[in-house]
């Protein structure tokens, strides 16, 4: 038995067959009709539309045979698709190539075969249309012509399938594109050559505050407060032009906008695709970052200045002490200055680091838990004990206050800075009062804490600057002050989600009131 050779394009041929999407599908009338016609026209008992798979011949339509498929090696079709034209074996028994083929010797008793390759739309031969008989017979030129016509009907069905698939795909991708445009957060506008709006997406309608009907036909410049140059003029192919400007809404409102345009060609017309973005958030972010950067660099400039100042005393006096002879009393006085300035420097370094850690670390620096207000105040009182004036502090804590959400050490240290100021900037005999009471809004749950003194008070100008790093209301009066205490206080309060309220009158005293969020429960010991 002569087995059919594999066509040269077998791999791409099989791919074309898969792309037809006909293998192992149900019978269809459009192919049944053709095989039926073939049996009638040629007066044969058998006709098939066979698709030649890698190992089998599978029948999309078959008349006169019961098998749905047969092995490829036994087929005449395997030979037929190697031909350009009709492949005919008029008497199979007389043809030595097929004499021992099971389809001839087997139950089918095949005596005659005529088949024509069927081409997929891409040109690859994917199967055959064949007519068969149990007896040998003649196949005339007119028969060949007829078979070619019938085969053309089959391949035109293949082409119809491919066309419909392509149409469906295009429809899908159009739907998809439309959905994409509809849901894109950016405004997309299509413009004609003169920058008149041809169509807009819903984001553009929202951005410019008008339905598409009111935007279409307007010029792009009408949507902008001032003309933005170059958006459509002289824009080279393939390049994107991005400009910033001010957008105008239909209600007259304005907003910063960034517009990018690019050229495209649609149906022989030059068109522009414009994408508009509301720039407010980005500009605000840039401004915020710049301000933060300026604040940080100012802080470092001031920190360097403050650190250099005590160093000037330390380096200067120690050099004098090493190089000159002073009497014992003077030498001691100078050493005392060096010692005090070193202490000041050390306090500065600690507080600069504390503040930097609070500012850069954020809430993660704190270990917040439910704390009794008394615990926090104890911490603060212990810190200011070294002033030796704790006897002046009067506590008035409402009983049974809910616990507050706080880091007791950090909040205690922050409160100590306020207590310290109150003690230092008020007359020795006067009291400093610490009150704590439940906030008025029981639902939210807050505890208020007020530190009051009847000291020198602050002017409005001083109050405006009191929380700034390195600000000192009275630099001469307290050289040991770092000017960082209240900056640390404010940063700590911020990280506690607490608020602070300052009431101060020059010569009358200062009230500083904290509103602290209450915590759900006390920690278990």
């Amino acid at each position: 038995m002569l087995q059919p050779l594999l066509p040269k394009d077998e791999a791409s041929r099989l791919q074309a067959l898969i792309d037809l999407k006909l293998l192992d599908t149900a019978p269809e009338e459009r192919f049944e009709r053709i095989t039926r016609l073939a049996t009638r026209l040629f007066d044969v008992p058998m006709a098939m539309v066979g698709l030649l798979d890698a190992e089998r011949l599978w029948f999309k339509s078959r008349i006169g045979v019961t098998d749905q498929e047969i092995p490829r090696v036994e087929t005449f079709c395997g030979h037929a698709i190697l031909q350009d034209d009709v492949f005919v074996v008029e008497d199979t028994a007389a043809d030595p190539r097929f004499a021992d083929n099971p389809v001839i010797t087997g139950p089918l008793q095949l005596g005659f075969y005529a088949g024509l390759p069927l081409a997929a739309p891409c040109g690859s031969r994917v199967g055959t249309l064949c007519v068969l008989d149990h007896r040998p017979r003649r196949f005339s030129d007119a028969d060949r012509l007829l078979l070619r016509d019938l085969a053309a009907l089959v391949t035109s069905e293949f082409a119809t399938d491919a066309l419909q698939r392509a149409l469906r795909q295009q429809r899908d991708s159009e739907t998809w594109l439309r959905a994409l445009l509809n849901h894109l957060p950016e405004s997309v506008l299509m413009l004609d050559e003169s920058a008149n709006v041809l169509s807009v997406n819903p984001a553009a309608e929202r951005m410019f505050g008008a339905p598409a009907g009111q935007l279409v036909g307007r010029n792009l410049q009408w949507l902008l407060v001032e003309a933005v140059p170059d958006l459509v003029r002289c824009l080279p192919e393939g390049q994107v032009c991005t400009r910033e400007g001010t957008g105008r809404r239909a209600d007259g409102g304005t907003f910063p906008v960034e517009i990018s345009t690019s050229v495209m060609h649609l149906g022989g017309h030059r068109r522009y695709a414009a994408i508009a973005r509301d720039n407010a958030a980005r500009l605000e972010e840039t401004r915020r970052l710049r301000a933060a950067g300026e604040r940080r660099s100012h802080f470092f400039k001031m920190a360097a200045h403050e650190l250099r100042t005590p160093l000037a005393s330390i380096i200067g006096f120690s050099e004098l002490l090493l190089k000159r002879d002073f009497d014992a009393a003077t030498a001691r006085e100078l050493l005392d200055i060096v010692h005090r300035q070193a202490g000041h420097l050390s306090a500065l370094v600690t507080q600069v680091l504390d503040l930097a850690r609070l500012e850069s670390g954020g809430p993660a620096v704190l270990q917040i838990g439910p704390q009794r207000i008394e615990t926090i105040l104890d911490e603060a009182l212990r810190t200011v004990e070294s002033l030796g004036q704790n006897a002046r502090i009067a506590l008035a804590i409402e009983p049974d206050l809910p616990p507050v959400a706080a880091d007791p050490h950090k909040l205690g240290a922050a409160l100590a800075h306020v207590l310290n100021n109150s003690l230092v900037y008020s007359a020795p005999g006067t009291p400093v009062t610490v009150r704590a009471w439940r906030g008025p809004d029981a639902a939210v749950g807050t505890v208020l804490l007020r530190i009051s003194d009847s000291g020198i008070g602050m002017s409005e100008e001083q109050q405006a600057a009191m929380f700034e790093a390195f600000y000192r209301a009275k630099p001469d009066a307290r050289p040991e002050s770092t000017g960082l205490g209240l900056a640390i206080f404010r940063e700590t309060i911020k990280l506690h989600n607490a608020s602070v309220d300052v009431v101060s009158t020059l010569g009358r005293g200062t009230d500083i009131t904290l509103t602290l969020p209450a915590a759900a429960a006390l920690p278990h010991a």
């Binding site: 400039k301 360097a304 200045h305 100042t309 160093l311 380096i315 200067g316 050099e319 190089k323 630099p475």
Partner: protein
């Protein structure tokens, strides 16, 4: 008659340090503010002023500019002393008319040399 030097700084420790440092060069007067400085200038007619750039609320740069702009005081040599040490700070000092600009902290030896040069 010994040379007269005026030290202007709002910090008492620094006034003492600079006075001790410079007293080998001449008579040293001190002032803690701009107002005091003007009084000392009238009384002492100093040849050199060592002026702190940040005098509490006052700007040493502005005081320096005012002295240099006033014909009565423009011949007084001025050394600005500051813990602001960036190139821009030094440039601002020079722009205010200062004859020299020295950074804090400083070595007393170097300050002596610098003031000596201004006296020469």
């Amino acid at each position: 008659m010994p040379e007269s030097i005026l030290v202007v700084d709002d910090q008492p420790e620094l006034r003492l340090l600079i006075r001790l440092t410079l007293q080998t060069l001449g008579k040293v007067a001190v002032a803690g503010s701009g107002e005091e400085m003007m009084a000392r200038i009238a009384a002492e007619r100093p040849r050199v002023i060592v002026l702190d750039v940040s005098l509490g609320g006052e700007s040493g740069l502005e005081l320096c500019r005012a002295l240099k702009d006033d014909p009565a005081t423009s011949d007084i040599r001025i050394l600005l002393l500051s813990a602001f040490v960036q190139a821009a700070d030094v440039a601002a000092g020079k722009a205010a008319g200062a004859d020299d600009y020295m950074a804090k902290p400083f070595s007393p030896r170097e300050l002596q040399d610098a003031v000596n040069a201004l006296l020469a």
